[in-house]
Amino acid sequence: MDETIIYKYLSQKTTPEEERELLEWINESPANKELFFEIKMIWASRHTLPRDEKEEEVLNISLEKLNNRIDQALNKRRSHVYRKIRIWASIAAVIGLGLLSYVFFYAKPDKVEHIVYTNEFADSVKTVILADGTSVWLRSNTTLTCPAAFYGGIREVEIDGEAFFDVRKDEATPFIVKTDKKLIKVLGTSFSINTRASGDLIETILMSGSVQLQRIGGESLTVLQPSQQALYSRKTKTLEINDVDANVLTSWRYGLISLSDVSIQTIVQCIEDTYNVKVSMDTVQLRNRKYNFSFKKSKGINAALKQLTFMTGCEAEVAP
């Protein structure tokens, strides 16, 4: 057997015939079995190597999520209201599903406390984790309103500004984002919404999973696929859908500015805008080239310029 089938198997590229061959080979000897499974372990270990700064941040975000789940679990133990709902829910399950919605309505407290998260700063990203473990990144001048806890079989929040959501999967409890003009019903997923996109538009970009866009009245506009952007115009009340690089357009949430396949002028312009300085660089000879450039704002202008200099072979400095 050609041993590279092992690698093909791990990257899911084998045919059923090849898989049969591999199984036979594995059963031929304990040494073969050991070789196969140890290589599988090494292949799986690639997740320990972060491929860029984005992935280093992932560890911190994962930790935040965990801490929120712990807090939630500890609160649940003490909360008398949750216990009440759980008892009613189990009785309803015995009696019949028809009663369930009535029970949830009845058990819902009269006043649902709302929490308002605001990021009032101009150039920072605020991270918030909701009661269900969903993570939300708020861009500058953005407000998120949500209930202190989710009841009644849905999770509904309201957004004004630009935010990125990483919704915790819960198929039984749909996640709904309200803006002034449309609703977004989410089916376990990550996406961004901007209610102030230029041209009086509401922009939605889907990273992974699935979202359904609806008008406030309930009429469905479309269901988005990953790497699609929907632009809803308040004026014309129409929807435009484009294919985009969702990663690039939402990388702001890591304080990471990511430019893809752009000219040197665009990169320089971006650095100038980000740090509010003028950059001097002789770009004449680079005029027709395209680059990919990512930098973390918090690392500072000098690091960014150093990286740019290294990448292009042309000196980039802050203009005197």
Partner: protein
Amino acid sequence: MENTALLIKKVRQGDRAAFDELYKIYYLSLLSYATLFLSKEEAEDVVQDVFLNVWLNKERLDPSLSFRSYLLRSVYNSSLNQIKKKNYSSEYSSIYRKEIEEMGYLYFNPDANDIICQLYNKDLHKQLEHAINSLPEKCRKVFSLSYIYDVPSKEISRQLGISVSTVDNHIYTALKLLRKKLDNNKIVLLIIFLGFL
């Protein structure tokens, strides 16, 4: 980085910061281990579940026992539960893959296999980086693109101007070499031990 036994003692007493430190230390290697059974997203959930339980039952932590073994065993049990719950039978591309994967579930049991405990340690990423850097030049370049940056073989073949089968050969050769190198770490440990007898 603090000694893990000390961190565990602190966690027992309710020190949340020490708990965070422990999570950071073990997260990546546990995640990798869990992906032997589940997808990356499901694996993350399982690792979080295990740590959630660590905190909720922190009084029962025993600093004299191997924390790493305990974590691996917990991840193992949770992962198998997930698999049973989700009934993956329909998701395999063939019955042969199903049989191979199920063989794996038994093979990767941390109690049945010393290698698991030794491989999935907190320094795994450093050992991997070191081993990858000592690969022959061309092999390393192709392998890194695939292994670290997730570039598909077709794309690597296009970028470097070599055939897809050459790419796959480089990657497989690298995997075999890495396996040998990581195995050597074990042998060194063994020799040192014998020296003390």
